[in-house]
Structure formats: C-alpha cells, structure tokens
C-alpha cells in the first residue's frame, strides 16, 4: 500500500483521486526543491513529506540543500530576523558571504537546476541562486515560509532584487505578500498525519515518554513546542505560567524544542530560557534532538493545554499538530496562527503573557471546553491543513504556470 492510499483512509478516497487527476497534467516533469537544511524546522519537515508524495504521483521530484559556513548562516539568520521585522545590521562581509555561498552552490547544483521544469526555492537562504541561471529552462518559484508582512525595508529591498527574477512566489498568507512583478500564490503549509509526529499513540506510550522526560504524569501541564527563538516568546510563556501557578499549584510547564542547523541563535536563547526557569522544578526545559518526532507527539497528546505564544509566526506548524491531536491552542495573535486559531472556536488568540494566563485558567476550569474546541480544531485541520491539500496546491501552481494564468483554465 502506497502512502497516498494510507492518506486516503484518513482524508477520504476522493481527496487522493483528485490528486491523481491533477497530477496527470504534470506527470514526468522534473521538479526540484531547494532549501538550506534537511533537519529541524517546518520547511525541512514539509519537504521530507511532500517530495516522496510527488514521486508517488509520477513526478520526478528532487530535494537538495545548499551548504554554507557559519558566516553564511549568521547572515541568513539576520535576514530571517529582519524579514520578521527585527532591526538588525547585516555587514557587507556577511552579504558577500551570502552571495559567495549561493554562487558556490549554484555551481554544485548547476546540472540539476538548469534542466529542471519547475524549481521551488524555499526561503531567503538559497534565493540568490537564480542569479546564476540566466538561461534557465523551467519555471522558478520562490517559496517564502516567513512572516514578511513588516520587514526591515533595507533587507527586503536587497532580497527583492533576487526575488523579482522568479516566475512566481508563494506566501502563506495574503498579509505576507509584497509588491512583486509576478503572480504571488497563497498556500498555507501542512502536516503529515502519518508522520511520527502525528500518528496516534497509546496512552501507555505517552505516559512512558513523559515519565522518561521527568514530567509528572499525575499532574496537568501546559506545553509550548518550538525552536528556542525569541520570536516564539518562551520567556512570555514562563511569565504566563507563573501567573496561573498561584491558582493551580499542581500545574507544570513544558517548553520543548530543538535547534536547526541554519539557526545559530538557538543555544543562546535556550540559555536565557533555562535561566528564567531556574528554581522551579515544575518547569521542564527540554532541548530535543532532531529525530524526536515521537517524543513531541507524546508531549502534545499528554498536555492539558497547548500554547504557541509567538510574537511573529510564519505559520506555526506546532499549532496545526496540536489541533490535529484534539487540543485547542492558545496562540499569539499574529501571522499564520490567526489562520488556524479561530478565536473561541479552535482556541484563543492572545497578545500578552497576561492574556495567555487568563486563557490557561479558563481551560483549566472548563475541561468540557477543551473537548468541544479540540474536536472543532481537529476537523478544521482535517479539512484545511493536511499534506494532501498542500500537494494539491503545489500541483495547481505548477499547472497554472505551465498553462498561463488568464481567466480560468479548462484542461482537456
């Protein structure tokens, strides 16, 4: 049984049949995805899932990464922060390293990219590759996974020089789209319900994982899973927990996350979080290895309430994952979280640690609401944020670009 057949058991067969029919129009095409890491973070996770499915649909799909040194990743992390709106200074030296690394990778990937029918370039790290392919054959698409609604203008202007060269770009939300001279498609990301992070787990397994991590299985805990990144506001989560603790003394807090090879700031933020948590044995700060998907799955299933109190957020796949597991989410009122957390229906949107604390208290005192909102959250993900929908959108983009975007397209 192929993976698509297994997905059909969850989504319904009509969903997968629809994919096969769409894929018929792009069968045999050579499609290449490029990003900067194979492990850690949402982009790698989506590609790990989506590339094999493209192959199953008859597309010659490839996934390659660009490699670079510390300076390159310092530069791209600074770019990432700047695109999220944080004021940073990127030195000329770092910019030169960015361009040099892209040039080197262009040479390495030359044959594959020159010959591809469709190229998806994910995020800013490899965006400058396009400058080295003036005679490219296929359609090149810049896939932006970042909340670029309010970028630092100087950094965006620099990056835009490369992005304008693409045939199209893809953003998660309309809010993130910028003025660009090509079609800007809107595609939210997705989760794989069959992945280790989302498959059903037995209660026994969940409890075993929690015990191993030092979480008291007899007491409730709130959870935030995310990279150790200031934009995810882990300190704000600790503040919220402390405000609730006086009303619910048995409450625990778990902050779990890993790093990514393209994020040099992670360790510094982790230290800050550990310092903030010091002295409270009920706060567990867990730095998880890249292959900890099943652990994260168990943590999400065992939590009484899940938080994603980000200040800026491209999408927030951890929100989707929690919702898939019937958990309503208390999320920061920002970016892609807004698309998923429908206030008072699938969770609550909050703007401060105080707001998060209030909603945690509400849930702890209304367990029926956790069930009711959790069911709505699960259904919302089933209909909108599974990988099958994501794949359908990519197929539609490919078909649209190959046939033109006038009016509506009738394929015959």
């Amino acid at each position: 049984m192929g993976k698509l057949d297994k997905l059909a058991e969850i989504t319904g067969y009509h969903v997968v049949e629809h994919l096969y029919q769409l894929a018929h129009w792009v069968k045999g095409l050579k499609v290449v995805h490029i990003n900067s890491t194979k492990e850690g973070g949402g982009v790698a996770e989506i590609l790990k899932n989506i590339v094999p499915l493209m192959k199953e649909l008859g597309i010659e799909a490839h996934w390659e990464i660009i490699t670079g040194g510390d300076l390159f990743f310092q530069c791209t992390k600074a770019m990432h922060n700047a695109l999220h709106g944080r004021h940073v200074v990127i030195s000329e030296r770092l910019i030169r390293e960015y361009e040099r690394t892209n040039e080197e990778n262009a040479q390495k990937l030359g044959a594959l990219l020159s010959d591809a029918d469709i190229v998806f370039i994910h995020d800013p790290q490899p965006a400058a590759l396009i400058a080295h392919f003036p005679d490219r054959k296929g359609k090149w698409i810049w896939r932006c996974h970042i909340d670029v609604s309010r970028p630092v203008r100087s950094v965006w202007r620099y990056l835009r020089n490369f992005v304008t060269e693409y045939d199209a770009s893809i953003f998660h939300l309309a809010t993130f789209a910028q003025h660009l001279p090509h079609p800007m498609f809107l595609i939210p990301p997705s989760i794989d319900p069959l992945g280790e992070k989302n498959v059903p787990l037995s209660e026994l397994e969940v409890k075993a994982v929690l015990s191993e991590l030092g979480v008291d299985v007899d007491r409730p805990y709130v959870l935030q899973v995310s990279r150790f990144d200031r934009l995810k506001d882990p300190i704000g989560v600790i503040e919220a927990y402390r405000m609730v603790k006086r009303y619910s003394p048995s409450l625990q807090l778990v902050l779990a996350g890993g790093g990514a090879s393209d994020d040099p700031e992670g360790m510094a933020v982790l230290e800050e979080v550990k310092m903030a948590a010091e002295g409270d044995p009920d706060i567990k700060v867990l730095y998880l290895p890249p292959k900890a998907d099943r652990t994260i799955n168990a943590l999400q299933r065992g939590a009484v309430v899940v938080l994603q109190k980000s200040i800026r957020e491209g999408f927030g796949l951890t929100v989707t994952e929690a919702m898939w597991k019937f958990k309503p989410v208390i999320g920061g009122d920002t970016g892609g979280i807004r698309l998923q957390v429908v206030n008072h229906h699938t969770g609550f949107l909050v703007n401060s640690p105080e707001g998060a604390a209030l909603r945690i208290r509400y849930f702890l005192n209304n367990p029926d609401k956790i069930d009711e909102m959790g069911k709505k959250a699960h259904k919302f993900v089933l209909e909108n944020f599974l990988i099958t929908r994501h794949l359908r959108d990519y197929l539609t983009v490919m078909i649209s670009l190959l046939h033109g975007l006038k009016g509506r397209l009738e394929l015959v």
Binding site: A174, K376, V397
Partner: protein, 220 residues
C-alpha cells in the same frame, strides 16, 4: 424528455489557487476604491472562491466584504447590507461589482467619519484562479447520484454546486440544470436542492447534505 434522450451528467473537478493582488484596504474608502480597480476575478473569489479556501465551519456572512466590514470596521449595518446580496441575482460580475460600490458609497454618505481598520487587519483583495478538468466519469441515471455524490471531491462539489450558479443560464447548480432536462419528473428533488444555501456550509458538510437528499429521494 425520456432518460435516454438526456445527455449524461459530465463529472468535472476543479482546483482553485489563491493569488494575492497586493491591494490592501485599510479603510472603507480604500475598500470602495480598490473594489473598482481590482481584477474582476477578485469579486468572484470573495463571494464564491473563498469557499474553497481554508475557512472555519461557521461562517457568519456569505461574502468576505461583509465579514471584514463587520469584524474590522465594526459597522454591522453596512455588513448586513453587503451580506444580503445574492451574487446569483446579477447577470455578470461587473454588475455585482457596481452594486457593491453603490452600497459602500451610500454608507459613506451616511457616516460622519471614515471607519479604519487596525494596521494588521486590512482587507486583502485576493484573486482566485480556477483549474477545471474532466474526471471522465459520467452519470447516466439520476438515481446514481445517490452513490456518486458521496464519492465526489470537494473540487467537484464546488464546481457543480457553487461555481455552476455563475455558468448556468438559470443561475442554478449543475445537478438541477441536468435534472430539469427530464421535465417535471424530478421537480420535488430539485426543490430540495434549491433549499440548500451553499454560502453557510463547508464543502465537507455540503457533500453530506447532498448525499442525504439523494439517498432519501432515491431510497438508496
């Protein structure tokens, strides 16, 4: 007309992709101005196409304009006036666009201030691009709808039940348009189909509703 004389129902499917236009309305004035400037496909999208986009199961309004005016401009009166518009009443989308502009202008004349949304709560004009394809499935006998409709994709349902209201001469869904070809034989069934309001449901729920109607009617 007998069954053998009516052509079979051609099952099509579609996928809709959203495209950002870059037009973002901050105020009611912006909404009116951009309404006149955007590609006409935007008007289609914000009435019909958004039913194919990620959306919560309990929409309060039947179009995105009314929803934004209510939630972000806090003008329930204008939201109600915009929500009462049935897009199927208009022969073409330009006529519908003009009606929207007229309603907004009339409201602007009544107001003593210009409602403005918070910075990050703008209205984003989105264009929907529809890719339609033949599934090569054909339904010869109306009774077969009872077991074919439950197997239809969300795209098929959108195309035949929602998008059809723009395409068919009588502004009805494709199922009714086809069943009318059999004369009065399926009139009670058509009346039941006419009773479904596609603007207040998700496509998943729509599939269940349609399946139930066909199942009950044909005793399947």
């Amino acid at each position: 007309m007998g069954k053998s004389e009516v052509h079979p129902f051609i099952v099509k499917d579609c996928a809709l992709i959203q495209i950002a236009t870059g037009y973002k309305a901050q105020s009611l004035k912006d909404l009116k101005e951009y309404m006149g400037a955007v590609d006409i496909d935007c008007v289609y999208y914000h009435f019909w196409g958004s039913l194919m986009a990620p959306a919560f199961e309990e929409p309060e309004f039947n179009n995105d304009f009314a929803s934004w005016v209510y939630k972000e401009l806090h003008d329930p009166l204008l939201a109600e006036r915009l929500a009462v518009i049935d897009p199927c009443d208009y022969d073409d989308l330009e006529e519908l666009r003009q009606e929207l502009i007229d309603i907004i202008e009339a409201r602007m004349d009544e107001l003593e201030y210009m409602p403005v949304a918070k910075y990050d709560k703008q209205f984003h004009f989105i264009r929907g691009f529809l890719v339609v394809f033949d599934t090569y499935k054909r339904i010869e006998d109306p009774a077969h709808l009872a077991f074919e409709v439950p197997k239809m994709s969300a795209g098929s349902l959108f195309y035949h039940f929602i998008d059809a209201r723009r395409r068919t001469p009588d502004r009805v869904d494709d199922f009714r348009a086809w069943l009318y070809g059999f004369g009065d034989e399926y009139k009670p069934l058509c009346d039941k189909l006419a009773g479904i309001d596609p603007f207040f449901t998700t496509l998943t729920d729509l599939r269940e509703t349609l399946a139930k109607i066909f199942r009950e009617y044909f005793g399947a």
